[in-house]
Assembly symmetry: C2
Homo-oligomer: 415 residues x 2
């Protein structure tokens, strides 16, 4: 092991006694090939390298043969676990490493390995959905409070300027969504997947609408109800612990921010039908805010297994085909905010790193490393264009009183 | 015939001698049913009505049995011909009549009649495309000059305010397209389907780019070249009389305004491949501006036969699936400007009516009536949401220097 690894904590000193052989060097060469021209130095447990790039931005240390084999057989799943457990170590900026990997994969390298195996994204029945959502969102409000903004908004923010703070950007995002929907006082809004309730409360408070907001995460609903009471908004915002599939009430606007990722492709048609049965004729409109893709590809298997069970980022085509076109919804506006999500994630990662000691006390080191990888990998995915963030505004086909141009969206805050 | 038809010119007085019988009344009742609750009064040649709506906005006179039968058997095709020939007469506002029909069809009435038969939109080989485009665009520059704006822009305008003039709105549209593309001085632009060249000249003059603009309409290309020379822009704008399928040169931006409608669904994949082979890596971006639909439906057969051979308005899903996703182009922005097209068409129709005497001299009355119906029907289609106008901005997946927000688009004119 070279001196550049002085900072790594050896998992098991005995491993160093078994030097890499010809088989290991061959495996390493495959891994190097798969990563194409990514400027990453790959090093085995005894310091063995296959070929070092001219100007490496980081060094990846594979601590044992089992990890090396796993990274080759099913990198999509095993690289994440290897990092979380410390069997794969990274010296260098984790975001930059992920960006380099995504760029290499974008240039076709992924075709050489089963890195992104096409597989079904798991079950999304009522029970499975509840389990999936519980897995991620019920980790504990205390955990999320450590690194989200003070309003607990766990979706892409909107930075009016690149230097806006996270708090400003989350408030701006909520405002932006309301203005894209052209909310009018007294209107009825249905929100599907409301997180800790910030958007619902924002809409009621600043746009004088009434909101029914749905969520199947018990912890989040409890928290959201408490906030509504604290703010005296419980008469205008009702938080309902129920699945989006059970929504059946008239509304003027239907909004869903960060839920579509968890709906599962096979339920898109159902979601479209739910929107259609709720949305008022003629003036009804809606907004879907979701993580998406430029082309069909499942979410990384490790993220699905360890972080977001059942998650799937669709392409715009899939959203059009399955949710909007069957009901003749008219698309008014689509905006891609992926760079805003990269910036949001940078803020989250920075705050997360500042709270690492506390998170480690609440959980353990593999948890910290898994979440670090997830946040850094997500920032890199949005920064490189591996993932997109779409806001799609749509309306009933005969709605004709929408603002004449989009200029009003950018003329300062209305309220 | 009631006195409300005093203004109609009888085609053949002898027709009035044959009164409508039971069969005619039955056909009329079918037609009434198909139109649902449209507030239109339908009257046969001898004054026969089936049922009059309470507050009709217009009266439609069917002048003979053959026309009545044709309107029922293949309304999609025959209604337009009947109107153009004068065998179907309309007393009332033609745009309002079309709007009423589109609303009735939107509410399901069309399912009762073969009004919108699903059929192939004709050939789009190189030769067929040339024929199709010649049919419409080579009617004569003198004709279009009578009712287009002075720059001869024959696509949807962008009205910064509803009261902008057509001249202002066409200039604003060209500027808007350039700004959505974020054109920089010295960049290379390819334009596919350049009409009379206004946008190409605008880009070169106001955004200091060089443009290669393609068009298969000989008359338009000749006119555009002449304008380039008059403006001294021939060194920076080259008008090429060739098919978009033959475009093969590097560019920083690819733009197509109002061509996709004529490309034909089966050539979308080819168009995507053309864009991919031309567009610069990393910084390349493009804009497609086209008439579209909320859901799959062919263009009205009469419009395809008499006005726009081979035209087809796609849904966003089709554009994503066939043109953008196969090449991982990243959608940055989609805007629906259908109400701007309704307003554009209102301007065109008004100017057209003001030039009717001249158009009649150039052609004949059926031509005038056909074009009146086409313009009025198009205004109605965009006003009611039967047709959409989409501007789709996209980029190479790793382009990350696009403006941070869309606010700049609305901060006054840059130049």
């Amino acid at each position: 092991m070279g001196e550049s690894f002085a900072g790594f904590k050896p998992l098991d000193e005995s491993l160093r006694a078994r030097p890499a052989g010809a088989f290991d060097r061959w495996l390493l060469s495959l891994l190097n090939t798969a990563l194409g021209d990514a400027p990453l130095r790959l090093v085995l447990w005894d310091g063995t390298e296959h070929r070092a790039p001219a100007r490496p931005i980081a060094t990846l240390l594979v601590r044992d043969r089992k990890t090396l084999i796993g990274m080759l057989l099913d990198p999509d799943l095993n690289v994440g676990d290897a990092y979380a457990s410390g069997r794969l170590e990274v010296e260098g900026d984790l975001v930059a490493v992920n960006e380099a990997v995504f760029r290499a994969l974008s240039h076709g390298g992924y075709a050489m390995l089963p890195w992104w195996r096409l597989s079904r994204a798991g079950g999304h029945g009522l029970r499975a959905s509840r389990h999936n959502i519980h897995h991620h969102y019920d980790i504990g409000n205390d955990f999320y409070r450590l690194w989200l903004d003070r309003r607990m908004v766990y979706t892409c923010a909107y930075f009016p300027t690149p230097t806006a703070t996270l708090e400003e950007a989350q408030a701006a995002k909520m405002d932006y969504v309301c203005r894209k929907l052209d909310l009018q006082p007294g209107e009825r809004v249905v929100e599907a997947g409301c997180g800790w309730g910030s958007l619902a409360l924002h809409m009621a408070r600043h746009f004088q609408v009434t909101v029914r907001a749905f969520n199947i995460s018990r912890e989040q609903v409890r928290y959201a109800r408490q906030r509504a009471e604290e703010k005296g908004l419980q008469d205008r915002v009702e938080f309902v612990e129920d699945d989006y599939r059970n929504i059946d009430e008239p509304c003027d606007a239907f909004v869903s921010v960060g839920m579509l990722e968890h709906v599962g492709l096979r339920n898109y048609a159902t979601l479209g039908a739910v929107i259609d049965r709720c949305l008022a004729p003629s003036r009804g409109r809606g907004l879907l805010h979701f993580i998406g893709r430029n082309r069909l590809r499942p979410l990384n298997a490790w993220t699905r297994k360890r972080i977001f069970p059942g998650a799937y980022p669709p392409t715009l085509r899939q959203v059009m085909e399955e949710i909007l076109e069957p009901w003749s919804f008219s698309v008014l506006d689509v905006e891609n905010l992926r760079l805003h999500y990269a910036r949001t994630l940078r803020h989250w990662l920075h705050r997360f790193e500042g709270a690492v000691e506390e998170v480690t006390r609440m959980f353990d080191e593999p948890f910290v490393r898994a979440w670090r990888l997830y946040l850094a990998g997500s920032e890199a995915a949005f920064a490189t264009g591996w993932l997109q963030l779409f806001q799609v505004t749509f309306a009933r086909p005969d709605k004709d009183d929408h603002p004449w141009t989009r200029a009003d969206l950018y003329r300062g805050v209305r309220r």
